[in-house]
Symmetry: C2
Subunit: 678 residues, 2 copies
Amino acid sequence: MSDALVIFTPSGKRGRFAHGTPVLTAARQLGVDLDSVCGGRGICSKCQVSPGVGAFTKHGVTVSPDALTEWNSVEQRYKDKRGLLDGRRLGCQARIQGDVVIDVPAESQVHRQVVRKDVTARDIVMDPATRLFFVQVAEPDMHEPSGDFERLNAALADQWGIGPVDAGLDVLRALQPALRKGKWGVTVAVHQGHGIARPVAVDIWPGLYDGGLFGLAIDLGSTTIAAHLCDLRTGAVRASGGIMNPQIRFGEDLMSRVSYVMMNPGGDIEMTRVVREGMNTLIADIARAEGIDPRAMVEAVVVCNPVMHHLFLGIDPVELGQAPFALVTSGAMNLRASEVDLVAINAQARLYMLPCIAGHVGADAAAVALSEAPELSDDLVLVVDVGTNAEILLGNKTRVLACSSPTGPAFEGAQISSGQRAAPGAIEAIRIDPVTKEPRFRVIGCDLWSDEDGFGAATKASGITGICGSGIIEAVAEMRMAGLVDASGLIGSASQAGTERLQPEGRTHVYVIHDASDTGGPRITVTQGDIRAIQLAKSALYAGARLLMDEMGVDKVDRVVLAGAFGAHISPKHAMVLGMIPDAHLDQVTSAGNAAGTGARIALCNIAARAGIEVTVGNIHKVETAIEPRFQEHFVAANALPHAVDPFPELSRIVTLPNVSFNTGGDGTGGGRRRRRA
Amino acid sequence: MSDALVIFTPSGKRGRFAHGTPVLTAARQLGVDLDSVCGGRGICSKCQVSPGVGAFTKHGVTVSPDALTEWNSVEQRYKDKRGLLDGRRLGCQARIQGDVVIDVPAESQVHRQVVRKDVTARDIVMDPATRLFFVQVAEPDMHEPSGDFERLNAALADQWGIGPVDAGLDVLRALQPALRKGKWGVTVAVHQGHGIARPVAVDIWPGLYDGGLFGLAIDLGSTTIAAHLCDLRTGAVRASGGIMNPQIRFGEDLMSRVSYVMMNPGGDIEMTRVVREGMNTLIADIARAEGIDPRAMVEAVVVCNPVMHHLFLGIDPVELGQAPFALVTSGAMNLRASEVDLVAINAQARLYMLPCIAGHVGADAAAVALSEAPELSDDLVLVVDVGTNAEILLGNKTRVLACSSPTGPAFEGAQISSGQRAAPGAIEAIRIDPVTKEPRFRVIGCDLWSDEDGFGAATKASGITGICGSGIIEAVAEMRMAGLVDASGLIGSASQAGTERLQPEGRTHVYVIHDASDTGGPRITVTQGDIRAIQLAKSALYAGARLLMDEMGVDKVDRVVLAGAFGAHISPKHAMVLGMIPDAHLDQVTSAGNAAGTGARIALCNIAARAGIEVTVGNIHKVETAIEPRFQEHFVAANALPHAVDPFPELSRIVTLPNVSFNTGGDGTGGGRRRRRA
């Protein structure tokens, strides 16, 4: 009886095996990605396969119905007790006795691909650091004394070819009861990390544990902390949640928090405490809502800017507030979660923090780089993560540059007269009729425009309360397009621009978007000060991008990616009218959503991505805006809307900006004070 | 000008060097052991050398007075400020300009030898895991951003050829202030450990730190915790101290502590807490008395028996209380001291625990093996560490065996009618006149014998309060030699043995050593029960040794080493009269003092010793007494004084034991109940 031909799909791997070979064994010998936790004992069902029957002309084989052995008692017991989908077999029990084509379904693959759900998500190939391994451990023998842990390691080596593993005292403490309760069979969660010397046993359960393994991808922002609870086996995001960063009470922006530490010795310790507490609260809330045992959360990846990085790690951030902006450490961090008091997850959970690129370009920018992979791009891509500080990446396969630019909080609706956070009632989109100069707008929480029927009723609950970040960008851009604001950023008077919505306020004018002051409601306007604030912010952003373009020796980019939660809500056309970003074809301006969070998820789910981003970050060339004289030149030139000198040919193709000028000599062009906001 | 011949003593290493070569450079190139902390900057003075002048016929060179350069300003400044012994030069500043013989004094050697002070101490070659390294770190550069820690690592690699080092968050936290305060020069304590993947930066100081580095060698016993504060540079024991193990309130012996855990869930946690607290108190007291900064204590080595090992690590010890006596882990432990709450030393200090040999033969026995090195012995040596449980090693270069034997607490004066701890007032030595049968004795705290003038006055303060462990051993042996006790252990009556000091008590007799009952003082006697207790203990000890001899296929050992604080006080002759130990020439029975503590000190001061003892322990063959039928046979046969069947030819040469027999049929021979005391 000659060996049987076995063909695995979708990999196409094939080989000949002696009759009686278990399917799992054949898969392993061929390097086919077929999962198993129990190591072939027919109890975990992770190695399910779908054998085909009949003629497979593509492969040149015909599979007879008895190509695999009949169901044995182990397999039958599993099916009776736990159920199996039709056509599925347990790869460790079914044995080969004829030529066969065997499909490995996605859920039986360790390295399965998590297919993106929307255009802003990246595909992730699963290769988590922490996996479960069931082992049968030898019982102790007085004549050959050895520790239970030494025999556990022997079993891991013998049955899985891994280890020796390290184990913390918590795991050693749990070992003896688990072995005895599990009748010497235990499931070990082993972290085979990158960046640590030896694999680590994170936890241990008696018998076969199948309660799932989870990890947290955490985007620790200055304003909000967002966490994604990810299934480490499937890569699925089980739940997401966010809270305000409780450090806000020490300062809205990062620089004010650094100042707080400078003025209040020990203030960093307090801020470290509250951010860790906040993170624990967030994680505990998510886990409770999902019914997830804290022990099952065995990993976390945290991305954040350098100041948050230091404050989270318990390191004084004052050096980051002054040149030369020295980080304590720029490297990736491999920690035990307990080192940063993350008590809401497994006591032995591992924590990975991506490397920082520089003192102003943090692990969050590294996460954006991991998500958007400019180093793999054929065309030249500009990635802009808009926030209080903008992180900017420019690059392609040849070279990647990075800088940060102090945009300030205007893009987030702060320091804007009618500005507010993105919350129900906030104007998030606005259009101004170029003829009538009348506005119409949409508020968060309602899909109707303000001139549509039912808008009043639909927004009654929330009210119309202010303008959020994307709203103010659109407002200023629309005012420019409608000829209410000139290229210098000056708001015209009612007579100059032809609408009574332009009203004097002091020596300048405001544009009234919405006025409910007669009923005690708000009067929502765009003031000259608001325009100046937006100009400062957008000039900083543009100047940063421009500096990278200089360094790269180009005056045009092929595409622009807007990252960040805020980036997802910006209208590319309006951004370009403002001159926030360099001129590009509008089709080539896309949003990447929360790219930093996506990068964190990738690092959580794929261990190789960690080594990869560490190499990438090492190759990224950092351009320091704070000391670059051309930055100031670019900044001043970028003050005009869209720009004093740079042509915007792509923009010109779709928008013709009114050639108005309201400057009567009184007000300058706004190239005012600028201070770095870290 | 040809190169100069440079000869270093005492190593004898020689080589030719270009004129102008610093002595330190020449030493390094030749592999001469010449210390330096500052890396050749002329500030640490660790590289002091003594150049010779004149004719050195042995080496065939004549050294002219100008063989080394004149004092330069750095060297002169050091001498003016800190002083240098006559004839000493700084090796990093003095340069070679002629043939020269240079002596490296012991204190300038890293791997100096600590010469033993008494016969029980082992020589230790210094090679500590943690050493100081001064580095000048590059300042941060905005254009080439990197973390301070990354530049520290670069400096360590460049200036010392070590690293990259890992650093805990505490060290990262201290890094930036230290660098700036030290003007980018810092001293790092680097632990280049065995058993850890990468070197660890334990602490960091601004500028050149010269406050010393210390380590603790801790012998964690069931009854007492003893700690030696060692200078990690010189190996000197700076101070020692001890306290009672506070776990005693949960049970005097180990088995009763294990029982406490079995009966009181959570009892192990409580015992873990108190033993760690006790250790912290002990360390803090020693450090305070010596004026040592807790930060300067950067390492600890702990040795202990398996039950203490588990309780100290916070691991439930119940499995050690029952067959098969499974350890959670038998391997050596490399921990951070903070993992076991050792807060009295540096927060980042490292803790090493020696491996355990088996469930009853712990890290303390491993430390004895490290101290006594039976695996290096040409002759066959029996090492007995006497305690509540005796650990016994037998071996030579070919093979080493180990077992433990449940001797019980009798040797420590417990369960003895007049027994007490070794404290002032306790009888520690006794002689009985073979003719008059009258005793004379010595008590702890007084050098006089009881029949010498002034004894009464000298012992007035302490009184005569009882018998300690070594006292009861001598008492029983002397009674046997004086014919008051027969070979079966039975005490004769006054008429049988011819002294009124033998008095009836119930159905048996007692020997009155001291009677102060008429003045309200104690009446100190040796009872039949005491003899039986000693017989049980010594039988267990002898049977264990005998079992190892069987396994080794010998009926005689070449020498016997008595280890343990108690072992130091036992009279070899009396021990042999009792048959505690196998027959040997008395000159070949020696005391090793606190060999476990010595082993801990060796592991603390010499990193290679850790790897060595781990290999040795792996090669030691464990014999389990609890399940070995021959143990019971040996135990019964060993009940007689000195032994029922084994001849004691060496003993016979110096002592003739009276051939008496007092058995009138009433009392048995004492092979009574025996229970394991772990």
